[in-house]
């Protein structure tokens, strides 16, 4: 059996390219704003459910950044799809990641239920904090923002505690 791994970027090449993208985005000759992601969830919710922007203060608040991230999101889906089909050749429909099968369970219902629940809580958490991995960690910490340091620290600790107790990692 060969052990050739999937065609992919090394962590350092990925990190360098991501920092260059951040610098391009934040520069005044680029977009003059940081990279973000999680704002798309309330923005899309407002769009799909046709919520009245005048009635919901939050939609007014995120109108500009939500639209910006909405366009970026379409690009992310496009870029991710093209790369998975033509470069890494990893596109395939799947319901359970192999790591979940190995360290949690093999139930599709369990994975999908947890996914829905985690997606729901994740957006509430990100919006409470005013950002996510992209907005706080990548963009915020690169600007040495104290808000990003607090968020990054709390997320790191909670992530490791949850990983320790949610999965069965003993004896593997």
């Amino acid at each position: 059996m060969t052990h050739k791994k999937t065609n992919r970027l090394s962590w350092w090449m990925g990190g360098i390219l991501m920092s260059l993208l951040l610098l391009l985005t934040i520069s005044t000759f680029g977009a003059d704003r940081p990279i973000g992601a999680s704002t798309f969830a309330p923005y899309i919710a407002g769009t799909i459910f046709n919520l009245d922007h005048e009635h919901y203060g939050y939609l007014k608040l995120i109108n500009n950044s939500g639209a910006w991230i909405g366009i970026m999101l379409i690009g992310v889906l496009f870029g991710g799809f093209i790369t998975s089909v033509f470069i890494t050749k990893t596109f395939r429909f799947s319901l359970i990641p192999s790591g979940w099968k190995k360290y949690k369970n093999t139930s599709i219902l369990s994975r999908l239920t947890w996914s829905f629940f985690a997606g729901f809580v994740m957006i509430i958490g990100a919006r409470l904090a005013g950002g996510c991995t992209s907005g706080h960690f990548l963009s915020g910490m690169s600007q040495l923002a104290m808000s990003a340091m607090v968020f990054g620290g709390v997320v790191m600790v909670t992530l490791l505690i949850t990983g320790r107790y949610f999965y069965n990692t003993k004896g593997t």
């Binding site: 052990h3 992919r8 090394s10 962590w11 090449m13 990925g14 990190g15 920092s19 951040l22 934040i26 680029g30 003059d32 990279i35 969830a41 309330p42 919710a45 407002g46 769009t47 939050y58 939500g66 639209a67 909405g70 366009i71 970026m72 379409i74 690009g75 992310v76 496009f78 870029g79 991710g80 470069i87 890494t88 395939r92 799947s94 192999s98 996914s115 629940f117 985690a118 997606g119 729901f120 809580v121 994740m122 957006i123 509430i124 958490g125 990100a126 409470l128 950002g131 706080h136 600007q143 040495l144 923002a145 104290m146 808000s147 607090v150 968020f151 709390v154 909670t158 992530l159 990983g163």
Partner: protein, 213 residues
């Protein structure tokens, strides 16, 4: 290109999509094409480096994979030196988010726990959907409902949970007179952290062996 004005009246979903495009045209944060391109590159980097995989973020939560922190810290280290260099030379502005402790801590707890369970974040999740992961599509639907709940109850509940803002503080403010040095030290230390975190990788049987692919 900026002369195109989309029809924004009407109630259909399509007109709301055009409104979104129009809002991006009207704000001064790059052309629609540039914003789309930023997304394409972001999606490409994330997919090509495979950090959108469950085994990467959930794997880090289990301390069996360290590619995500290595890549993220490296990007932050280079990014911090680059951003402050550009700010000094008038090529960039800082965009600092407010420091409101209750919101950051409570939000961080909810975010960290759900990220460990889902194995994705809001930035890598869409890339996973684009490569065919149905479970993450379900998570996105959950996320949109999360966004709906947050929007609807923002004025009554979530705004108060966020608490008072301590302003848009940055770390160099704590080192008055040594601002530039503090940025440089921060950047170098974070890059060194990225390099010295031991490289661990959780294997994905479906992807890491040719014979099984």
């Amino acid at each position: 290109m900026n002369e195109i004005v989309f029809r924004t009246d009407g109630e259909g979903f399509l007109s709301r999509f055009f409104q979104m495009v129009q809002v991006v045209i009207d704000q001064d944060h790059g052309s629609v094409a540039l914003v789309f391109l930023i997304g394409v590159i972001f999606g490409g980097i994330v997919q090509y480096s495979r950090v959108d995989k469950f085994e990467k973020i959930a794997g880090f939560a289990m301390l069996k994979d360290t590619i995500v922190p290595k890549m993220l810290f490296l990007a932050v280290g280079i990014g911090s030196i680059g951003i402050y260099f550009m700010v000094e030379n008038g090529a960039a502005n800082l965009h600092i988010k407010s420091l409101y402790l209750p919101g950051l801590i409570l939000g961080g707890i909810l975010f960290g726990a759900s990220m460990a369970i889902l194995g994705k974040c809001p930035g890598t999740g869409p890339v996973s959907i684009a490569e065919g992961r149905i479970d993450v599509l379900i998570a996105a639907i959950g996320g949109i409902f999360g966004g709906l709940v947050f929007t609807v109850f923002y004025d009554d509940i979530f705004k108060y949970l966020q608490g008072e803002s301590f302003g848009k503080t940055i770390l160099p403010n704590l080192f008055e007179g040594h601002e530039q040095t503090s940025v440089l030290v921060f950047g170098v230390v974070v890059i060194l952290i990225a390099i010295f975190i031991p490289k661990l990788e959780m294997e994905d049987e479906l992807e890491d062996h040719d014979a099984l692919r």
